[in-house]
Chain length 325, copies 3
């Protein structure tokens, strides 16, 4: 399990220079993770995990104590079998690992995001939530229930994934898929990790940026050096989306109990869409035994509703203790 | 705990012959069960169990961040004390066992349903969800919060149960009750199980089939033979319900790691109501260690809204892995 | 964990003498508590706890399967980081203990409520839910997410707490705070516990009794005697609230497996508000091993909507088994 306590804050600075500040608020979060595993008679291993907050079924809503037609709560791991709801289930053997549920698609699996380069994390994830950050690629275009096969042999890894469109046969909807490759190159003691992948989004027919035939191709290169420094870059090319390209860079440094991380990312718009960028910072001091002091900061552009002009810069900050059990 | 992953599918065939197929979808489900037990100083045992998905209280619904009057989520085990919410609590001693919460009424306790005859189960429960299947008898006519006493002595068992009407004193509402008997007859090494019970539904005054004085009387006979075959039949007579009678037959066969099950059931309508029937199939191959490959199939009649004519046949299918931990 | 089963009942007697009774209902409740703890390298201890029913995030509500704008479920421990949601997190060291989340403010921490004097509890908490009972003081005026520091040295304890206003900068809103003191006086073998505290409510700007600058000052005195008797009194002075004062008395007695408790409390209205009082009773018989038979009773005044006249007396009762695991 994990618990976090501290404060967080969200402000903005308009392009005209007007600063809007909000008071800092208390921050508490708690996770209890249930992990289960087993092994078949012929040596396949299998397992599943779910968080406490992912329990709970799809409920009807009641109005005055009687079921209100049509209204329901969102689906969760234990409630809606056609949605992953946050649970992950896997079977592993000589053929590799097959994972189903709330897991990364093959593009996300292959790529080392800028925020995963030497990042000690923060309690409110400020450093990976800014407007210039790309983390999930085209996963979650439908309901995020993903089936992935991955296989690793020495320095080389490969994965293929599918994202369900919930069995829809409506026009312009279809299952999404992705393929990804990883390669770990040993350069006289320093490992350089390469990631490469391609993804076609699940078309869910509901509207929005990824309705019809959205695609992404990404590549990442990252390395951790003996002196505690780590660095990485990513580049993603997008098709049939409001953005055309995304690139990012991440840096991390660890010395003793202290870690610091920074990343910068930028989306290039297409047509009349403006470019959007942002950066994130995270610093941490490890008290040992699972307790870590965390600081996080994120800053990123916000646009008007049409996405055709920048409006202000959004800034978020958090400071607190992360406790792992 | 238990996790399931696979695919499922639901199709229909109209009486005119038109086939409607839906795409297969991914299926994931996960259960984490918390079981607790203890013993008093004078030797009574007691316990309780609840699933992860049964946690969570009755919540107010918020509109724009403010409580919306009258709206709430459905009650759950930990939220609404006047509803069982999925939790079961028992106390056991020389007097037998008293169980309260989400448990079987005495009729359901006594009867061996067709789907419980040598059935290895399926991930989507197709084989026990078809239109001809009767599983819960009159349990759940109100909120399903049941109090049952049962007592077993040698080959003979007896149970009495009550279902709460939530303290209602409205006209035509009342507590439901049931009584059930079990007898295990030993015929030269093969045990034949007899079940017999009677139930009067809880009248919840809300409308529907079981409003006023619904009653059911059921009998079941089942046996498991030394060669791996098992067979059972049930017959249920109903009063003050849209159905008049229900009968079903179940068969199961197990050999080594492989199990297969089939059941057929039929509801006989009364007045202008048509008869409705259906069948279910389940097959499973046990990989050992808690991992089982499951296939399930169900097929059953569907009627028009009035229930006076058959419209089509609904078919559901599932295939996947069931993992027990 | 803990499970409770039994029956409960709520009736009322109008001032004109008309008695309204409701049927007794079944009662089931279950709690599963997850407690986690750790220690840093330099000896700080830390921990967190959350209940099964406090898991679950803030969900969107779906209408016809699509997200309904603006509607959401209430926040829970694992879902909304700006709300405690029922979780408690602490860090403890030579400096005392810092607790954040669903915890008592410093006034509530210092005071021994009448219902905490030798009270064995009941399944429906009837004895601490009547109209004359004051339990949480001004905690929860905003969202109940509290930060408290407390420190104990020998017989003396001190605490300071803050309640968040969620970073609001709206007019007439502000963070709430409290300070409390405890002193344990040893009188020839009997310990007399004194509590004293002051609290200014968090102003949440939403309306209701505690909008603007509500304050409370409270004092409590309680003792447990060698013969099994315990007794306590409280007095609370309130400002800028519909009530002016509250006083209460609690008594408890334990002999062998049997315990009994009674309390009485009264709110004095101000302006045109009437006084409201009530009393509670609890009795318990311990079966050992964690199983206890509980009886609870509460009776208290109810007023008209304006709070200017008494309407009737509300009575609640519960009887059942409490099972601790």
């Amino acid at each position: 399990g994990r618990a976090e306590m501290g404060i967080f804050k969200a402000d903005s600075v308009a392009n005209t220079g007007v600063v809007t500040t909000n008071g800092a608020q208390f921050f508490t979060d708690i996770d209890v993770t249930f992990t289960m595993s087993g092994e078949t008679d012929n040596g396949l291993t299998f397992g599943a995990s779910v968080d406490l907050d992912e329990g709970g079924g799809t409920d009807n809503i009641q109005a005055g104590g009687v079921t209100a037609p049509g209204l329901s709560t969102q689906n969760r791991a234990t409630g809606d079998n056609s949605d992953d709801g946050g649970a992950t289930i896997f079977v592993s053997g000589a053929f590799g690992t097959v994972t189903m549920g709330d897991t990364d698609g093959a593009l996300d699996w292959a790529m080392t995001e800028a925020g995963n380069v030497g990042n000690p994390g923060s309690i409110a994830d400020d450093e990976t939530s800014h407007a210039g950050y790309l983390g999930a690629y085209l996963d979650g275009s439908s309901d995020g229930q993903i089936l992935r096969w991955d296989y690793t042999s020495g320095a080389f890894g490969v994965a293929v994934s599918l994202e369900d469109d919930n069995g829809s046969k409506a026009a312009n909807t279809g299952v999404g898929y992705a393929i990804g490759f990883k390669y770990a190159l040993d350069l006289s003691g320093t490992t350089v990790n390469f990631g490469l992948g391609y993804q076609k989004a699940s078309d869910n027919g509901v509207g929005g940026a990824t309705v019809n035939d959205a695609k992404a191709t990404g590549v990442s290169v990252s390395a951790t050096f003996a002196n505690g420094l780590s660095a990485g870059v990513t580049y993603t090319d997008m098709k049939n989306m409001v953005n055309d390209k995304h690139y990012s860079i991440g840096l991390g440094y660890t010395t003793g109990a202290f870690s610091v991380h920074a990343n910068y990312g930028k989306f290039t718009g297409q047509g009349t869409q403006v470019d959007v960028d942002g950066f994130g910072l995270a610093a941490a001091y490890d008290l040992g035994g699972g307790a870590v002091v965390h600081f996080g900061y994120g800053s990123g552009d916000t646009t008007n509703a049409a996405g055709t002009a920048l409006v202000d810069t959004s800034k978020t900050m958090s400071l607190g203790l992360g406790l792992s059990f």
